[in-house]
């Protein structure tokens, strides 16, 4: 018999994990849907945000909020530097999408290796993160969990609002739909790409810091969340932000609920299984339109 309380507890943690993945997915989705680059170095951005916060708040002993700001600033800067230093010159040389992916791949391994050399392979953590545990009957949820859910969806909501209501947001949407036409009507496509890289990197910084408050940092910490973010984007349909959020949420919920039947180590198999089945039967994604 399935234990009802276990199911409820897994549901709660599924919502937490799902919110985390939703934010990561949206942060990658906005970049991928606009630039069409398979931006694997996003994992490096995620990692560097966490290490920046640890350096400031743990190693230098500064207050936590300064660490958070440092992490977000570093993430945004890393995204901007990748765009200006690598992607933009490659685009100018009309590099193929595969070439840009390979450069991104190279960068992701450079970042994780550099972190290992500088900080060592061991786990590092933020200290002094306030946290309370609440009991709802026998089900537990922490204040950090609640913060993760609230901040994650708030960030996604604000992004959607930004895309729909502001001039820059509409310019991003124009570039996403058709870069040539956008260029023809006077949108500076390169500036939009830079903006999008900064927004996506900022968002993944938020996701990274929320994760770090309850967990630890290590050099390859970015790989799994970013990979799940990728999968979520392809599940949700590669050209819509709500789809990416939904994809991430579904994946988080599924990995957590799979704990009813499977040991926790096998959660990633569930993610892969979902990807495999969706790609076979619904290649355009769950919310995507069928390609002609």
């Amino acid at each position: 018999m399935v234990d009802a309380q276990l199911v409820l507890q897994l549901l709660v943690s599924g919502i937490v994990i799902g919110s985390r993945y939703a934010l990561v997915a949206v942060s990658f989705g906005i970049i991928y849907s606009t630039t069409r680059i398979f931006h694997l170095a996003h994992a490096g951005t995620y990692t560097m945000a966490a290490y920046a916060a640890i350096v400031v708040a743990t190693m230098w002993g500064a207050p936590l909020w300064l660490g958070v700001i440092a992490g977000l600033v570093v993430a945004t800067l890393v995204g901007a530097l990748i765009e200006i230093g690598i992607y933009q010159p490659m685009r100018a040389r009309s590099a193929t999408k595969l070439a840009m992916f390979l450069a991104s791949l190279g960068l992701s391994i450079v970042i994780s290796s550099a972190m290992q050399i500088i900080f060592g392979p061991q786990n590092l953590s933020l200290q002094r993160v306030p946290n309370n545990t609440y009991f709802l009957g026998n089900i537990t949820i922490t204040s950090l969990n609640i913060a993760e859910i609230v901040v994650g969806w708030l960030a996604i909501g604000l992004l959607l609002l930004f895309l729909r209501r502001t001039q820059y947001g509409r310019a991003i949407n124009a570039v996403r739909t058709n870069p040539e036409v956008a260029m023809a009507v006077g949108v500076s496509v390169n500036r939009i790409y830079l903006l999008v890289m900064m927004i996506g990197s900022f968002l993944v910084g938020i996701a990274s810091l929320l994760f770090l408050m309850g967990n630890v940092a290590y050099p390859t910490m970015g790989l799994t969340p970013i990979l799940i973010g990728f999968i979520a984007v392809f599940l949700g349909g590669t050209d819509n932000v709500p789809g990416a959020a939904l994809g991430g949420f579904v994946l988080g919920l599924a990995t957590s609920l799979s704990g009813i039947w499977l040991p926790g180590d096998f959660a990633s198999v569930v993610v892969f299984g979902i990807l495999f089945i969706v790609l076979i039967f619904r290649p355009q994604g769950l919310l995507g339109r069928a390609a002609v």
């Binding site: 550099a114 495999f276 290649p283």
Partner: protein
């Protein structure tokens, strides 16, 4: 010089060469991509170890088992991607597979020993033990040579030609009657099977298997080797493996780095190499088709030099056309070769084709004319299976072919050309035409392995046939030129030769004269009339009424997705309304 230390490094580099070569078959020839090469290497190692330890299989059988396991798992993995053209799916799928299987190696403690792995007995053959690196080196040399031989042999075979075609233009390969899905699955399976094979050999050498070896880092490393050497260049892969494989032994001996940090330093170097190469020299050290000597030559045109294969032997036994099925006598065939009944297709609620009936009569030229957007090319797409109709039926010689995929339709005897030729630009004219020749044993991997000499002989015949078609269209002098070097008019002619080489009895020509020089227009018209004289049944989409007048036996006039008139060209041009619709007023 050859001691256990150097032999150990040599073995590692041989492993990298083999992993790189097998992945290059996938990336360089077929234009596919895999981020999972390390995990297939690992699957081979685990399968070998588990079969040897748990089931007591002998080394040879354990390794064969490992090859089968990695081949089959790769085939299944590639299933969803093989049906689609988009490369991103393959990246995502293989990346996810790499990470998940690597985690499983960690998690399935009962089977794999978890993060600490398990040990494998050393290799013993006929009472002799192979334990030390020096003793094991010849075995790894043999294994690596075998992988290189298979990769090179497949790459240069007719199967390799199909792979290159898939890389250039997958839909065009399908239109020539080749099943690209099977070819893609096979090449994925073979590349991964070879990685599994090397994994088995490595398991016996290291006598220890643990998940850390088969991580994403190794997959990225193998990709870096190929990219450094040059995608599609096997010599380049060997050089890349030596350079990057020699990094760590070098770094270990650098004072301030030391043994522990040599891994991340190695990763930083090949990661940086990947970034810089992609930014400044995406073709790698040795571009495709360039030999090693170009590295020493001063600016010998590294980008442009190409190895052009020697011309094919002359056709044995007369014209290849004599054996083409459509050239058989015309008698005893029903008149209607192709019959289209009430076919329709809508895009987003708007009908591109709506209720068209059409018949192509034997050995006649039927012309489809009408204003732009009338649905002429859509008709071609519908009857060759590129698009599936919403309703209606297509029959070829009385057999229903509605909804069959393009490659199957082509094999049944109906092939089409494309308005923009869709030739394989980086392949030679002869390779383009040879790709279309049906029934090539060399395209079958099993036949290549079991009957290599026969396959090679048949390949000569294929080339001779292709040469025959080139002579027929007058392009034999350009046989060994890459298509990209040809003028547009010449490309159009080569496209006709390629279409003819499919030996289909029904040929659909999509605007054969569009975009060509008026001076060679007559040649093209003569050529199409010659196809008719060879007994082919032809349908042509054509804009120029002068061309239609000279070619067509029967003309079908289309407007807004429906047929509004048909007859001879004289009958149609006699109707004032049609002329107005056609030319606009």
């Amino acid at each position: 010089m050859l001691n256990d230390y150097t032999a150990d490094i040599a073995i590692l580099i041989l492993i990298y060469i083999a992993l790189g070569a097998s992945l290059n078959l996938l990336m360089g020839y077929a234009g596919q991509f895999s981020m999972a090469q390390a995990v297939f290497y690992g699957i081979g190692a685990y399968a070998t170890g588990l079969l040897a330890v748990n089931l007591g299989w002998s080394p040879a059988f354990a390794i064969i088992g490992a090859v089968v396991v990695s081949f089959v798992s790769a085939g299944i993995l590639a299933l969803p991607a093989a049906k689609r053209v988009s490369g991103e799916y393959l990246i995502l799928l293989t990346l996810a597979f790499q990470v998940v299987v690597n985690q499983l190696m960690n998690s399935m403690r009962g089977l794999t020993g978890g993060p600490y792995g398990f040990t494998v007995p050393w290799l013993t053959i006929g009472g002799k033990d192979f334990i030390s690196p020096v003793d094991y080196l010849p075995i790894m040399v043999g294994g690596c040579l075998l992988v290189l031989l298979i990769t090179w042999g497949l790459g240069e075979s007719p199967f390799g030609r199909v792979l290159k075609g898939i890389r250039e233009d997958e839909r065009a390969v399908g239109s020539l009657g080749k099943n690209t899905t099977v070819a893609k699955l096979l090449v994925f399976g073979i590349a991964s099977g070879m990685a599994g094979f090397i994994g088995g050999l490595a398991a016996y050498y290291y006598q220890f298997i643990a998940p850390g070896t088969y991580s994403l880092d190794l997959s990225i490393f193998v990709v870096s080797i190929i990219v450094l050497g040059g995608i599609g260049n096997l010599t380049g892969t060997i050089i890349g493996a030596i350079i990057l494989g020699g990094l760590r032994p070098f770094l270990q001996n650098v004072d301030f780095i030391g043994d522990e940090n040599s891994y991340p330093w190695q990763a930083i170097i090949y990661g940086l190499a990947l970034i810089l190469l992609m930014m400044f020299r995406p073709e790698g050290l040795l571009p495709e088709g360039v030999g090693i000597s170009s590295l020493w030559k001063r600016r010998g045109g590294a980008g442009s030099a190409r190895v052009i294969p020697p011309p094919a032997a002359a056709a044995p036994g007369g014209s290849p056309l004599a054996t083409a099925p459509a050239a058989t006598p015309v008698a005893a065939r029903p008149d209607e070769i192709v019959r289209v009944e009430d076919i329709a297709k809508s895009f987003g609620g708007i009908y591109a084709v709506n209720g068209v009936n059409l018949a192509l009569r034997e050995n006649q030229i039927t012309a489809l004319i009408g204003p732009n957007g009338a649905g002429k090319t859509t008709i071609f797409n519908l009857i060759t299976g590129t698009l599936t109709p919403d309703r209606g039926h297509v029959y070829l010689r009385g057999k229903e072919i509605t909804g069959k995929p393009p490659d199957e339709v082509a094999r049944m005897g109906m092939a089409r050309s494309f308005q923009d030729t869709r030739l394989f630009r980086r392949l030679t004219v002869l390779q383009n035409v040879a790709m279309a020749v049906p029934h090539q044993p060399g395209e079958n991997v099993v036949s290549l392995a079991v009957r290599p000499i026969y396959s090679r002989k048949m390949e000569e015949e294929t080339r001779a046939r292709a040469m025959g078609y080139l002579e027929l269209v007058g392009m034999q002098d350009k046989a060994n030129e890459p298509v990209a070097n040809l003028g547009y008019g010449e490309q159009k002619v080569v496209a006709i030769a390629r279409l003819l080489a499919t030996e289909s009895e029904v040929l659909l020509l999509d605007e054969p004269t569009s975009g060509i020089d008026p001076a060679v227009l007559d040649d093209m018209i003569t050529l199409v009339l010659r196809l008719k004289a060879l007994g082919r049944t032809i349908c042509v989409v054509e804009h120029s009424l002068h061309v239609v007048e000279r070619l067509a036996d029967h003309v079908v006039f289309m407007e807004e997705g429906t047929v509004t008139a048909e007859g001879t060209i004289a009958e149609l041009t006699g109707q004032q309304r049609l002329v107005e619709v056609y030319f606009g007023t």
